[in-house]
């Protein structure tokens, strides 16, 4: 993304922020307020993730929070190092993709319950 533009990065940051508020609220509620076993275990999480809704929440969280967070890092960096934009964006995209794939694979492990 070139610094000449940036309005889409800006609006996406707002849209993901709103989505994250909703998803995180759900995530918190599920983890801490829905009665379940006291401790988090593989089988507990795996059981929960059989429900499609929870699957969507967790996978959505993974992708959206990574976008929002890494785009935030970019915004911070450009304040101080305005000329690193191209290489920085590339690095962040790579980090984001790796983290999505790695985290996504973990989620599928839970869903398969293995």
């Amino acid at each position: 993304m070139s610094t000449r533009e940036g309005s889409w990065a800006w609006i996406l940051q707002r849209l993901t922020a709103v989505l994250l508020l909703a998803l995180l609220g759900a995530h918190f509620f599920v983890l801490h307020f829905v009665p379940s076993e006291t401790y988090i275990t593989f089988s507990g999480v795996a059981a929960r993730l059989q429900g499609v809704l929870f699957w969507v929440i967790d996978f959505g969280l993974l992708v959206i929070s990574l976008y929002h967070g890494l785009n935030g890092v970019r915004a911070v960096a450009l304040d101080y190092w305005p000329r690193v934009d191209r290489s920085l964006s590339l690095a962040l995209i790579i980090i984001g993709l790796i983290a999505t794939l790695y985290g996504g694979r973990a989620l599928t492990v839970f869903i398969r319950g293995m």
Binding site: T3, R4, E5, G6, S7, W8, A9, W10, I11, A75, L78, D79, Y80, W81, P82
Partner: protein, 244 residues
């Protein structure tokens, strides 16, 4: 007598000496000729009586020319508009050059980066139509809508106070962006699209993180963030193909 003086702590830098910049204290009597004493008058006192080598800018001494924006006791102020009594911390008033701009000497900064950004937003009315014989009409409401932006005195206090572009001379900064909106909002201007393109990027309005330091630092009480936010909305509307 010490109780009748205060310490004026001035940021000093002499480009000819090769010495490092630093602060120097001067004892200045509190009472001016007219009872009160502004920081600018105190600087003149030092210039005339203590250090003829002191450098600072001045012109109107009534907060309209924009020459003497400085960083005074932790705040961005016009030296002419600041009473010493209001800037005292203990018995000290600290004055330094505008932060983040290159210092030429003492309190004089190189305004070049500021003016460069000002010129980037095409800071003049553009109207493609032929000028009418008399004035172009403008309703009092439309006129009121640009009052705040047109009041800017280009002192660069906001530019210097803004942390968003702190290490980035390409960031247009609040003053230039407010100037851009002054014309975007002017009912007589026809170059709205062009200007929104100039500012609608990450070196323009999208670098602004709504920190409001510009608003806090402005000696004329202008809300630069308002201008910037208005343009963010206009650019998004335009991106979505909506009527501007």
């Amino acid at each position: 007598m010490p109780e009748d003086t205060f310490a004026l702590r001035i940021f000093r830098f002499d480009p000819e000496s090769g010495k490092d910049p630093g602060y120097q204290d001067f004892q200045v009597p509190r009472g001016g000729r007219s009872g009160g004493l502004t920081v600018l008058e105190a600087l003149f006192y030092v210039l005339e009586h203590q250090d003829p080598g002191l450098a600072f800018r001045y012109s109107c001494r009534e907060a309209i020319c924009g020459s003497c924006a400085m960083y005074i006791s932790g705040e961005w102020k016009l030296a002419c508009q600041t009473q010493v009594g209001h800037a005292l911390e203990g018995n000290v008033v600290t004055v330094s050059a505008l932060p983040h701009l290159p210092v030429i000497k003492d309190l004089v900064v190189d305004m070049e980066p500021f003016w460069r950004n000002y010129e980037k937003v095409k800071p003049y009315l553009i109207n493609d139509g032929p000028p009418p014989e008399k004035e172009r009409l403008q309703s009092p409401e439309d006129r009121k809508g640009i009052q705040e932006m047109a009041d800017c005195i280009l002192c660069a206090a906001c530019h210097s106070a803004c942390p968003s572009g702190i290490a980035n001379e390409d960031y247009l900064g609040p003053a230039a962006l407010t100037k851009a909106y002054r014309f975007v909002a002017d009912s007589r201007d026809t170059a709205r699209e062009e200007r929104l393109t100039l500012v609608g990027n990450e070196q323009g309005i999208f670098r602004c993180h709504t920190i409001f330091n510009c608003v806090t630092s402005c000696p004329k009480g202008i809300n630069q963030t308002y201008s910037i936010q208005q343009m963010k909305k206009l650019v998004m509307k335009r991106n979505l193909g909506l009527q501007l």
